[in-house]
């Protein structure tokens, strides 16, 4: 029987790792994800997880050790956040280019300067071009589930790409919620053993990894990463279906909430989706035709699903905790690109909010709604809006 208990997202991530039975975990502690490697090292020390736990002196080393282990052909896991993920940046490209199915749990946190340990998505959003798959969890259960799904997708022969699973700093990492820990046997059935076919260490079958590619081959090698990202779309759907069959919890790349007949749809990711759903309920009570959508998968970008979503609304209001300078948020760029060539498309309004752990309240969402309504009524509106900005101190 699955165990129902309460735990923080950090513990949920550690449990997911334990259930996935990685052979190597290399990690460096960083707020807010420190508890993930702490808990895993406990599992290893207690003999509950038969794995090598490598203590390293930096995140660059942590991911490098993971690359080495994964290249040797074993399931590999690490956890990090913020500056730690940024320090891994160089090696993230290498892991994707070498097609190593490493999984990282990311406690989504802001980037310096100024130093700030609280939640936004700037850390993992900034890594969107590395080739890694990206999942975002709304709650602690999703943190656990999506890590298992991430392993499943990453290791699929049609994909073979590393994956990161983000969950919001403190809002999730340090808050206990009810979580169901699935049975080990069912997880074993779902994931199976990782059997490396392209990356392994075997003296009887020598191969060279991390090779040099001259101009005649580099482009093709990069294209295969592109192609693997495209393939991942289908593989993720399959994994979601199988996950639902085995564990009973349903996932979708883009999850919709009360979107039928909606004029305005709020789109967001991570824990903010919970707040937004409540806000939508609150508006519906007032008779406003408003819905919500949540991106569970950000890379590969769910272009098809976003186009379907766009058919349902007159205005898409994007709520994002990250900044792409000169553009707005990263989602604004992605949504614009997904919809730009459609004959009919909704207006897109972008909202930057909740940076560095700033609470996102109903009052903030009212501010966003007012601007979205302007767009709906054909009035002039700003494409990019910083919500809850304390203009009085500027």
């Amino acid at each position: 029987m699955p165990i129902r208990t309460v735990m923080k997202a950090n513990e949920a991530a550690a449990w997911a790792a334990k259930l996935a039975k990685p052979k190597v975990i290399a990690a460096f502690p960083i707020t807010p994800s420190t508890l993930v490697p702490e808990k895993i090292s406990e599992f290893v020390a207690n003999g509950e997880l038969d794995a090598e736990f490598i203590k390293v002196e930096s995140e660059h080393s942590a991911i490098s050790a993971c690359v080495g282990a994964s290249a040797a052909g074993v399931r590999t896991f690490t956890a990090t956040a913020s500056q730690g993920l940024a320090l891994m940046h160089e090696v993230l490209f290498i892991a994707a280019g070498m097609r190593l199915p490493i999984v990282i749990a990311v406690g989504n946190r802001s980037l310096s300067a100024p130093i700030n340990i609280w939640n936004d998505w700037q850390d993992s959003i900034s890594e969107r071009d590395t080739g890694w798959l990206q999942f975002y969890a709304e709650n602690n259960q999703e943190a656990l589930d999506l890590i298992l799904i991430a392993f499943k997708v990453a290791e699929d022969e049609r994909v073979l790409l590393p994956a990161m699973v983000g969950f919001d700093a403190f809002i999730l990492t340090h808050t206990v919620e009810p979580v169901e820990i699935p049975d080990q046997e069912v997880v074993d059935e779902f994931l199976g053993e990782y059997e490396p076919k392209h990356a392994y260490l075997d003296p009887a079958r020598p191969i060279t990894q991390g090779t040099l590619a001259f101009p005649a081959h580099y482009m093709e090698a990069r294209y295969t990463v592109w192609e693997a990202n495209e393939n991942a779309k289908k593989v993720i759907d399959e994994a979601f279906t199988e996950f639902e069959k085995k564990f009973g919890r349903k996932y979708q790349k883009v999850e919709e909430y009360r979107t039928d007949d909606a004029d305005i749809i709020f789109v967001t990711m991570g824990s903010l989706a919970g707040t937004v759903k409540e806000y939508v309920d609150h508006l519906r009570e007032k008779g406003l035709k408003v819905g919500a959508a949540k991106l569970t998968v950000y890379r590969p970008f769910p272009t098809e699903e976003v186009r379907e979503l766009a058919k349902k609304a007159k205005v898409l209001a994007l709520l994002e905790k990250n900044v792409t300078f000169s553009v707005g948020g990263a989602l604004f760029q992605d949504f614009s690109r997904a919809l730009v060539n459609l004959d009919e498309r909704p207006k897109i309004v972008d909202f930057i909010l909740g940076l560095g752990g700033r609470d996102v309240t109903f009052k903030n969402l009212d501010e966003a709604l007012a601007i979205a309504q302007k767009a709906l009524n054909g009035e002039e509106f700003d494409e990019v809006n910083w919500v809850g900005l304390r203009k009085e101190i500027l």
């Binding site: 073979l160 392209h198 060279t208 093709e220 693997a228």
Partner: protein
């Protein structure tokens, strides 16, 4: 100069590498060192004096590339496609049958 003993390998590797991109650009068969000619790195080249040579094979053993092979009479032959000009052979030769000279390209 005697024909390179790697000729068959070179052809095999060239053929297989021109075929398919592997996931992660993994080189699945050994031998890419054979098609990547490292001789272009060279600044100094070994100049061989056959009259002085005692056929002790030290140069053959020490060459890290290995760019030295032996002809029918067991004299060293230098494969300048792969000799990177490190000078180890000249350093090891006990009778100074090899000297490094600046290569003018």
């Amino acid at each position: 100069m005697a024909e390179s003993p790697f000729k068959a390998d070179i052809e095999r590797v060239q053929k297989e590498y021109s075929e398919k991109m592997t996931p992660g650009a993994v080189a699945t068969i050994p031998g890419s060192s054979v098609i990547n000619k490292t001789g272009s790195w060279r600044v100094f080249m070994p100049e061989f004096n056959r009259d002085k040579c005692t056929r002790c094979f030290l140069c053959y053993i020490y060459c890290p590339e290995p760019a030295i092979y032996l002809d029918e009479e067991s004299y060293p032959v230098f494969d300048y496609d792969y000799c990177k000009g490190c000078g180890i052979c000249a350093n090891e030769c006990p009778v100074d049958a090899i000297v490094m000279v600046r290569e003018v390209k």
